[in-house]
Amino acid sequence: MASADKPINTDVPEKDVFALHFLQSLSNLRRQNAFNSPDDTTNNRVKKIKKAAYVSMARAAGGTNRLWSRALLRRAAKENNKVVIFSRRKKRVTWLRRSNRRDPVDAERLRNLLPGGGAMETSKLMEETAHYIKCLSMQVKVMQCLVDGLSAK
């Protein structure tokens, strides 16, 4: 029933992986003609960049191996009316645990924050949060570097 998972693996790839993915997505954005023309409002551009940042982070960090990245990619694909193809290496059954098993630790706010957090058990939620925090901080560093590099010109 309970599995002995002594090593909790929350490894995150190096910064350059994140950088690469983000730059690729940015370059894709630039190739869109609607993006570069001045009639595109700043808000839209911001939203697109933000979404590109998240998607690239999800792809760089775990791809489809992590629950939160999977949920993020699915959400993004739904917005673009695309379909995400997941390669399932092992059969994955996600139970929606609405039972009373969450009594001691109520992490509802965390669930709302984390993409795809609604369907996870609490221990899994914690693990995903740790990985998510690491990836977010890495993405922030990459974006900070980019902004500094661009604005210092």
Partner: protein
């Protein structure tokens, strides 16, 4: 006296003390006039004294072992039966060894814990091992950790004063899991240790959760802020991507960051323009690239449109260099 001798013979060497005492008492008793009645009473008093010694000694000395064997043997037999059943269930020899060690340690414990642990062991269908121990010794913990490593199932040891039914055990295992992850998160979030430093290492879960949530929210806000800045910066540079990358290269190379391993590979990269795309591929870590083919075409297209051959090589070199730069600096 013969009986005392007989009694003495039944014990280990440690029993000689009581044997001598009994002999001493027997001597004392022999000093009494051997009346008919007292002659009859001689033996019973010595036996009674023996029995008194018996009842005294088990609490103090290891001479209780000889007395214990009859009852202990039955207990051991009872213990081994569920052990055998559980091994049938689990098909694992380590479990039996665990059981036998626990049974051997149970030797000096009262019988009630034996029966209760038996009852729990009989419930091994839940695949959890639990023993009531009067005290948790490090040897036991090592054994349980060994079992945890070997078997795919978690072996939970119930501590003193805790319930041993399967539900609470599962709950406890789950809670321990959650606590372990909470600790991990605590180390990850900066400033979480200072939330309540005085109390314990693991602070109240609500406070830690709040801290974690705050951190995640701040990170998300940072991403949004940076994306806004990027969006405002981007339209000012309406060159194509290559010049942007070149400018980034220049600014990044200016040493706004500490690059200890800064190789001067500019000329090196510029020279190698024969197979730029292969270079590009080799520099990066092997990952699935959805944009890979698109990018190559894009780069080629943009270069052909805007720049000549020299610029072409430069730009390609810069494009190749950029991820390398990033790798070094970040």
């Amino acid at each position: 006296m013969d009986l005392t001798g007989g009694f003495g013979a039944r014990y280990d060497g440690g029993q000689e003390a009581t044997g001598l005492e009994s002999l001493h008492l027997g001597d004392e008793l022999r000093q009494l006039p051997p009346d008919g009645f007292t002659a009859l009473l001689e033996l019973p008093p010595t036996q009674a004294l023996k029995l008194l010694h018996f009842t005294d000694s088990p609490s103090s000395s290891p001479q209780a072992a000889p007395i214990a064997p009859p009852s202990f043997a039955s207990n051991l037999a009872l213990m081994e039966r569920p052990a055998r059943f559980s091994t049938e269930h689990q098909q694992n020899g380590t479990n039996l060894s665990g059981e036998t060690t626990t049974s051997s340690s149970v030797k000096t414990e009262p019988a009630e814990t034996n029966s209760s642990s038996q009852a729990v062991n009989n419930r091994s269908g839940k695949r959890k091992d639990s023993d009531n121990k009067p005290k948790s010794s490090t040897k036991k913990k090592n054994k349980s950790s060994e079992e945890k490593e070997k078997l795919p199932y978690v072996h939970v040891r119930a501590r003193r004063g805790q319930a041993t039914d399967s539900h609470s055990l599962a709950e406890r295992a789950r809670r321990e899991k959650i606590n372990a992850r909470m600790k991990l998160l605590q180390e990850l979030v900066p400033g979480c240790d200072k939330v309540c430093l005085s109390d314990t290492k693991i602070q109240g879960t609500a406070l830690v959760l709040d801290e974690i949530i705050n951190h995640v929210q701040s990170l998300q806000r940072q991403v949004e802020m940076l994306s806004m800045r990027l969006a405002s910066v981007n339209p000012r540079i309406d060159f194509n991507l290559d010049t942007i990358l070149a400018s980034e290269n220049g600014s990044l190379m200016d040493g706004s960051f500490n690059c200890t391993a800064m190789q001067v590979s500019w000329p090196h990269q510029v020279i190698e323009t024969e197979q730029p795309y292969h270079q590009h591929r080799q520099l990066q870590q092997p990952q699935q690239w959805p944009f890979d083919v698109l990018n190559q075409r894009a780069w080629g297209r943009e270069e052909d449109q805007d720049h000549g051959n020299d610029h072409n090589s430069l730009m390609v070199g810069s494009a190749n260099l950029h991820p390398n730069q990033v790798k070094m600096e970040l």
